[in-house]
């Protein structure tokens, strides 16, 4: 899109990194929580930070379409999704503590290892790209891996879903940090999230109809492969 040259000063870099780091810290905070409502609130905070990151990128890249992404992240992921999940948890009477497959301490250590891994992978590979891209990419990859870690180490369907959405936050962070990536991708991502959320709702009700709990440990007993 034609426009004036983007404003890239040291301050822009620093702010972008600061916001990206906030998203990453929220990812760690997600791993740390033991209560389901705290998880939902932390996820809302992460989405808020993501919206801020998208808005800032829109400002410094002079790419107005990213404001739309920021708005979607703000309204949908920071408000509607946590609210809807909150309502689901209350309505279905789901167990309010987070059941973990690995203790929280070890999970956090694994999280730090993943962050170090992301940095090790991304920095050498992007040697020729601008500093903004490198740091943002490393942070985005860390957020993605942390979301993945959360999905692996949590046994409740709601927290798995939140982990998946945290993973998506990382993906969107990567996409907005990539300079000039076209609109199609952004709206499409948001579209997918929208449809996915509708599905989640359907699933939760169906699962509830079938099972009494959303503990995936019970779900696993029906491993059709044993036939």
């Amino acid at each position: 899109m034609a426009g004036s040259a983007p404003v890239m000063t040291q301050m822009s870099y620093d702010m972008a990194h600061l916001i990206g780091a906030t998203v990453l810290m929220a990812g760690f905070q997600l791993l740390y929580q033991r209560r389901l409502f705290a998880v939902l609130n932390t996820f809302a905070f992460q989405a808020l930070a993501l919206a801020a990151a998208a808005a800032w990128q829109a400002h410094i890249q002079n790419a107005p379409h990213l404001y739309v992404t920021a708005a979607i992240a703000l309204v949908f992921k920071a408000m509607i999704v946590p609210f809807a999940l909150h309502w689901l948890v209350e309505r279905l009477g789901i167990h309010r503590t987070v059941e973990t497959a690995m203790s929280i301490g070890w999970t956090m250590i694994a999280g730090v290892a993943l962050v170090a891994l992301s940095i090790l992978l991304v920095l050498p590979v992007t040697a020729n790209a601008s500093a903004l891209t490198r740091e943002s990419l490393a942070m985005a990859m860390s957020v993605v891996l942390l979301g993945l870690l959360m999905m692996i180490t949590r046994r409740n369907a709601v927290t798995q879903v939140v982990g998946f959405m945290a993973l998506e936050n990382g993906l969107i962070l990567a996409a907005v940090s990539a300079k000039g990536m076209p609109l199609v991708v952004e709206i499409s991502i948001a579209f997918s999230v929208l449809v996915a959320m509708t599905l989640f709702g359907i699933f939760f009700f169906r699962i509830r109809e079938r099972f009494e709990t959303l503990d995936l440990g019970d779900l696993e007993t029906y491993r059709g492969d044993r036939q």
Binding site: P124, A129, M151, Q160, E168, G180, I189, F191, G224
Partner: protein, 496 residues
Amino acid sequence: MIGHLSQLPGADNPLLWILGVPLGSAGFLAVLRDWRVAAWVNVLASGVTFASSLVLFEHRPEANKLLFIDDFNIYLVVLTAFIGLTTAVFSAAYIARESDAHRLSDLHLRFYHSMYQAFLFTMLLALTANNTGVMWVAVEAATLTTVLMVSLYRTREAIEAAWKYFILCSVGIGLALFGTTLVYLAAQPVMGDGADAMAWTLMIKRAGEFQPDLLNLAFVFVLVGYGTKVGLAPLHSWLPDAHAEGPTPISAVLSGLLLNVALYALLRFKMVIAANGHTLTPGPLLIMMGLSSLFLSAFMLYRRGDIKRLFAYSSIEHMGVITFAFGMGGPLANFAGLLHMTMHSLTKSAIFFAVGIISQNAGTKRIADIRGLTASHPVLGWGFVLAVLAIAGLPPLGVFMSEFLVVSSTFARAPLLAVPLALGLLLAFGALVSRLQMMAFGTPPLGGQSHGEAGTVSSILALTPLWVHMSLVLVAGLYLPAELVSWFQTVARLLG
């Protein structure tokens, strides 16, 4: 966004019909109340789509930033539209019986037909997209539509299958998006910002200038992401459940078409990698994943008790062989892989057509309860025998040809690898043939429902697609049209 709208195909462009008809009929079918009419609208829409795709042979539209047709996706588009049509025909018959047996309600059926067309639309969009982002969106939308359909029967197993499918494939898709972003980042310094850096046709020309390390990292993500959707081991655990629990027409299109589309996406990226000379060759990775899929499924085939699950594992096996072929690389192996993709689609969907009727007749999906098919239902039974022998790799059927090409090219280039390959293929062959023998021959169970083979419309409808597919596979085993061969060869060369 306005800029992209101008890229939509005009009325004389066959792509408009190919994409517009499924999309429009999806919307129409969502509101249509009578499922009987809906089934025929479904067939009609698929027919129009198929006819439009045939036009592509005559007149290839110009590539623009959004959509394009080249030697790789032309035959895949036609194949998808064709199998979409035959499956729609089969579905009309199958659904009629499901509704009579009260296994599906009217609302479910309306939803089913609408999602079927939506699914076809997303697959065709993924195949014809010239933008990595649009392709990604289409694959994700395809996953979403099929997840809903897998859980259609609302049983415990169906819901678990759909949940597993959803979670695993969504994570895979997410990682694929990350890979896509990385590819864009590799392309952006060379090609500038914006849609140019995401267009296949433009990227392939300048891929040599992309940074190799970044492409390597990107390909790993793409391989894990789209590889999950292809069903490569160890990312395959969603496949048997998802393919087994949905309605049979859905299993047919999942095994026959969606796996191909995911593999197509993977191969497009591989082409970019191959065009850049300095990247790590992804061959060993693909070979490893292909062989592990092959062996894992070959062993699992022996212990399956559910008929649909059996053939779902067979899909994993064949996808493994195809991936192995593309991992080997070189003109012959790539050609074999492309041919195998086509043959497998036709054969696997034919098998699922047969399986659908069989399980409806027998009232069960357990292999142990199905016996003596050739005696009780000759047309169906012998069609089933032919199909299973085809998928097991017996000559002179098409699948044998492609498997033979893979094995021989592997012997020529890396004889050590050919041993496990041949071993895996033989194991699978043994499992399938032994199961086939149990089901097709012997005396049928007493008291089983034995519908006469009288030419009721419904049974003709159900059996025709099976025989049409099998005749195509038989012909392809003996003779391939020259145009198809030349397309395969071009793509084989591009794949490196």
